[in-house]
Amino acid sequence: MSRHSFAIMKPIIKAEGLGKKYYLGARETVAPTVREAIKQTIAHHAGWRRTLPIVWALDRISFEVYPGEVIGLIGHNGAGKSTLLRILARITRPTVGQADLFGRAGSLLGVGTGFHPDLTGRENIFLNGAILGMNRHEIVRKFDEIVAFAEVEDFLDTPAKRYSSGMYLRLGFAIAAHLEPEILLLDEVLTIADAPFQKKCLQKIREASRAGTTVLFVSHKLTSIEQLCDRVLHIQSGRILEEGKPAAVVGGYLNQIATEANGKDA
């Protein structure tokens, strides 16, 4: 069984000092009215903002990902995994640092993004496919495959609002799975799927990786992480705490959880 030595290759993702800062309690949400906005702006210029607590959701991290690698991101809720994916997917900008991607990224950060409840399954495949970055010809070409993967053949002309949550999820994942981007960003999307479909999805991710797709994968399902990934990053408080072979990093993470639990008991 030959494994690539990724280190001698040129990275497809190169992040340097990537950081995202949020001010707690200030303008992190929308100002509901002009009055609030004026108050906040005054507060900001008067220097109140400097005294507000700062949170580095992502604390200036650097890393490289090599073509075809499957990277797992693990860590507690709020550790910064999703923030990292959101920055790489260009949904939000970093506060500091930079990242260069040497390929197009496709992301699945939520299932069925842009699905319209009044549109049929067929219509939603086209809409969602276009939103995720496919062009019409690609969608037409992969249409049957998507439908078969999602197992919604009989419901193609039913409005999505009558879909069960399982069907909704299957269709959403099926479309994203047929994107074929160079970089695939997946955020904890499979947790709600049933066991057989999860297995099918993991299989699909593996196939994509074998075909050369680079995958970044957030999951709390440590077994999938261990089986699927070439390398795992354990993220805590916005920093990379540990990085390396899946078994070692997942083991370290489990130990940490155990220690934390003991600490609470004591």
């Binding site: 190169k14 949400t29 500091v96 993004t113 319209h116 809409l127 276009a130 050369g212």
Partner: protein, 296 residues
């Protein structure tokens, strides 16, 4: 039961060298913090052009499914408004309409007015309505308000059929000048885009915009020669009046349809104001779009 892969189909990572694509020498995507002055990335707009089409298609499709008379609403709205103004302003107050039958006179402008006011309103809330998409997937955000305006442009095309019917009914003689009418449609489309994307961007940060807009729009309508002819405006105020970019468009399109002399000065002023607004709007939008996902 867990969905983990069982022992016997253990993952074998064995990629062929050929499967790993050649990387381009320069990054395809550069991710950087936002700068003070953002430029518009036309290559990105082109790359994602199909999103625009599908967003317009979605809105038209959904409207058709949710309403009983579907597309007919697009015609009903300007016709009803025209009827109201024709009775009160045309019949009772006898507002001058440059010798053109008042209903055609009013409808020709109300058609354009309905387009621009609906465009601005629907694009103003477009980003907020599509927040789920904005927080989960990337494409140039300008596509969202642009699609809202695209839908209204389709409406305008449909409502134009009624204008043609009225022109025939009232036996309005058309001249070669009528060929200028589509140019004014493009002009008003650009103006709608400029104001629409500004309203959309500001509405993400300050929801007051959405509340204020209907009032501002109403005022704007009466400040434009929609239901009256601009000859009603005193001569000494005309140069100020022409700063309203809608004035050149409405008067210009009327001149085109009804064989009246063009007031090229007001058309030129309107074009300049529209272009200025568009440049400002596009740059402000590019600046503000970085914060949409965090604020919407």
């Amino acid at each position: 039961m867990s969905a983990s892969i069982s022992e016997n189909d253990q993952v074998i990572v064995n990629r062929s060298d050929a499967a790993i694509r050649q990387l381009p020498p320069v990054p395809v995507i550069r991710i950087r913090p936002s700068r003070f002055w953002e430029n518009i990335d036309f290559a990105e707009l082109w790359h994602h052009r199909e999103v625009l089409y599908f967003l317009i298609w979605r809105d038209l499709k959904v409207r058709y499914k949710q309403t009983i008379i579907g597309a007919a609403w697009v015609i009903v709205q300007p016709i009803l408004i025209t009827a109201v103004f024709a009775v009160f302003l045309g019949r009772l107050i006898k507002v001058p309409s440059d010798g053109i039958p008042y209903p055609v006179f009013a409808y020709s402008a109300l058609l354009l007015w309905t387009f621009i006011s609906n465009s601005i309103l629907s694009s103003s809330y477009s980003l907020v309505v599509n927040s789920q998409i904005i927080t989960r997937v990337y494409f140039p955000r300008i596509m969202i308000p642009a699609a809202a305006i695209g839908v209204r442009l389709v409406d305008l095309m449909i409502a134009s059929a009624v204008l043609i019917a009225m022109i025939i009914y009232y036996r309005v003689p058309l001249g070669w000048q009528a060929l200028m009418f589509p140019i004014f449609i493009i002009h008003i489309g650009v103006l709608a885009m400029a104001i629409g994307i500004l309203a959309a961007a500001f509405n993400v940060h300050y929801r007051d915009v959405g509340t204020m807009l209907p009032i501002l729009l109403q005022a704007w309508m009466f400040a434009s020669p929609v239901v009256y002819a601009s000859s009603l405006v005193p001569a000494r105020m005309r140069s100020w009046y022409a700063l309203n970019p809608l004035m050149g468009i409405v008067e210009g399109s009327r001149a085109a349809l009804f064989n009246l002399p063009f007031d090229w000065t007001s058309v030129a002023i309107s074009a300049a104001v529209t272009l200025g607004l568009l440049l400002l709007a596009v740059h402000l939008f590019a600046q503000m779009e970085n914060g949409f996902a965090d604020n919407v």
